[in-house]
């Protein structure tokens, strides 16, 4: 007999934790599923067991996650960690895998708080061992207390500077920060008067971070227009172009970042309506004021909807939870609206900052559409930009056509590392706006699962498949 819940929340980051706590405290039967083996998502990764004893390294923002987790632990939330959700059907049946075995539960309301991922950053050599996302460097710091010595940070966006700063406070040597923020973005921001107070505030904070980094002896190179990672079997260095000149830095570690984008694989597989969001240059699921998608009973909260950051996530989680509770008949419309009001005010305050940051740190097209023919777009299947353009020239109407002819997007990551790049490459080659290009057709499972565990869902009397216990105990 399938277990049925009032609400299932997927994702135990700030939005998911807030949504789950809110629903559980209102008396709804609730299941919280998360892929990691501890709560916090990525931004508050390892918050219950930080890899660092010195709280100054990461800074106070990280520790804001503690309260969210404490609230979660105090509530009556049924929380299942290490649960990889691989399907949510239109009828809200959720299939998830724990320790190599899958089960299916059903929900009256689903809240997806599956968060964000980093935007793909396809440059020459980005697949070499030693190249990682800035988020990965941060995870290694938060969870394990580890740093890569002599790293080069390259890209654009607040997370780039935040992590470089954390590295410096951790006592790591940082070789340089290569900033690819287009200089024209600053001029445009100036022309808009920096969008008022919020813009000036963000700018001031950014300048403070840069001062701190420079004071530690780390050069910041602005206006970088080209990047090439060098090395044979692993990273040996990075070339960068500034003012038309190519220069070189030796390093074992390159940390890349050009913003975060919503993780849309689950909502795409559910066939929720999506739209192109020009300001953030990404696809996002279409939601209403309560986070509701085009699918009845399915809402999205936090950065899974569109990028607003960690400060906004708990508010959006609460709002989605209130929406779900009203749908369940547990609270009235008036109570729902009244409870949501302070959260909406908080979001409105953050929205101005967000707009400013989005526009200032919008990556330039040269880093969205790789020019070099042999830059890999699809990491899994090793498909280059040149190959894609070759096949588009034969006649390709969109990402699915391209996928079937090149295998781009057929690997285990299911297009997470290449999808946005493919949208941009097709837009450039076909001379159409990204909104007209579309995205890969995705289906469950949205993460790979064992054939044996899928088969086990068919019948009870089938011989037990050999189940690999992949997440055996912690220590």
């Amino acid at each position: 007999m399938k277990r049925r819940y009032d609400v299932v929340v997927i994702g135990a980051g700030p939005a998911g934790m807030a949504a789950a706590t809110t629903c559980a405290n209102a008396g709804a039967s609730l299941l919280l599923l998360d892929e990691q083996d501890a709560p916090g998502g990525q931004v508050y990764r390892s918050i219950e067991q930080p890899g660092l004893v010195d709280r100054d390294v990461l800074g106070p923002d990280y520790y804001k996650g503690e309260e969210l987790v404490q609230d979660l632990r105090r509530s009556q939330v049924e929380y299942v960690p290490s649960a990889t959700v691989w399907q949510v059907s239109p009828e809200r049946e959720i299939a998830f895998s724990v320790n190599g075995a899958s089960q299916v539960v059903s929900a009256r309301q689903v809240i997806l708080a599956t968060g964000a991922q980093e935007r793909p950053f396809p440059i020459q050599g980005w697949t070499l061992p030693g190249v990682m996302n800035v988020g990965a460097a941060q995870i290694l710091l938060k969870q394990s207390g580890m740093v890569g010595e002599g790293a080069v940070f390259a890209g654009t966006g607040p997370l780039l500077y935040l992590t470089a700063r954390q590295y410096i406070r951790a006592g790591a040597t940082v070789t340089a920060v290569l900033d690819t923020t287009p200089i024209s973005n600053y001029w445009r921001a100036l022309a808009r008067g920096f969008d008022g107070l919020s813009g000036w505030e963000s700018l001031r904070k950014g300048l403070q971070w840069k001062r701190e980094i420079r004071a530690a002896g780390v050069p910041i190179v602005e206006g970088v227009t080209g990047l090439r990672v060098r090395g044979d079997r692993c990273v040996r260095g990075i070339d960068y172009c500034q003012h038309g000149r190519w220069l070189h830095l030796s390093t074992d570690h390159v940390f890349l970042h050009q913003g975060v984008v919503p993780n849309i694989n689950l909502t795409q597989s559910m066939r929720c309506a999506h739209e192109w969001f020009p300001r953030q240059l990404c696809w996002r699921v279409v939601t209403d004021a309560w986070g509701r998608t085009s699918l009845p009973g399915v809402a999205v909260a936090g950065d899974a909807a569109d990028i607003a950051g960690a400060a906004c996530a708990p508010h959006r989680g609460v709002i989605a939870a209130l929406g779900a509770l009203q749908q369940l008949g547990r609270i009235s419309n008036q109570d729902r609206d009244a409870s949501a009001a302070p959260h909406r005010r908080a979001l409105a305050r953050e929205e101005r900052f967000r707009r400013f940051l989005d526009q200032l740190f919008q990556p330039s097209e040269s880093f969205l559409v790789p020019r070099g023919a042999d830059v890999l777009v699809c990491r899994c299947e090793e498909i280059s930009a040149g190959r894609l353009r070759e096949v588009i020239a034969i006649g390709c109407e969109g990402p699915n056509h391209l996928k079937s002819y090149t295998r781009c997007g057929m690997g285990p990551c299911q297009g997470r590392m290449c999808g946005l790049t493919v949208t941009q490459v097709l837009a450039a080659e076909l001379d159409r706006p990204p909104a007209a290009i579309g995205y890969y057709r995705l289906r469950q499972p949205i993460k790979p699962i064992g054939l044996g565990e899928l088969a086990a869902l068919a019948q009870v009397e089938a011989p037990a498949p050999v189940a690999f216990r992949s997440k055996v105990g912690a220590s």
């Binding site: 067991q49 070499l128 710091l141 692993c234 992949s470 912690a474």
Partner: protein, 114 residues
């Protein structure tokens, strides 16, 4: 080189795993990807198509580049798994090979084809 910083949490006990046959001591509770990186191995596999080296890239389970074989089972994401005493880790060369065992052919090893 990845290293633990001074402000890293101490007191974690150690476990021994084998990486490509070499016994390696790592901190208990570590993700396998972090343990591999800290032991000086930036690469976890080579790709199936052109045998290029890859290593952990996202550390959050979405890039599928940190694939290793664990106790003979291929295609395991090292960043999603914690180390365990006695774990046998092998870097994955090309596509992962599923374990088939070495059962002898019934009736002898005469591999006559059609």
């Amino acid at each position: 080189m990845f290293r633990y910083i001074d402000a890293a949490r101490h007191g974690a006990r150690l476990v021994t795993i084998t990486i490509d046959g070499v016994a390696t001591t790592v901190r208990a509770g570590e993700t396998l990807a972090a343990a591999l990186l800290q032991s000086g191995r930036p690469d976890s596999r080579t790709t199936a198509v052109s045998h290029q080296p890859r290593g952990p890239f996202c550390m959050m389970g979405i890039c599928f580049d940190c694939l290793v074989s664990i106790d003979g089972w291929p295609n395991q994401q090292a960043c999603m798994i914690r180390v365990r005493e006695g774990m046998r880790v092998e870097r994955q060369e090309g596509c992962g090979c599923i374990p088939l065992g070495t059962d002898a052919l019934p009736g002898g090893n005469d591999e006559a084809s059609l």
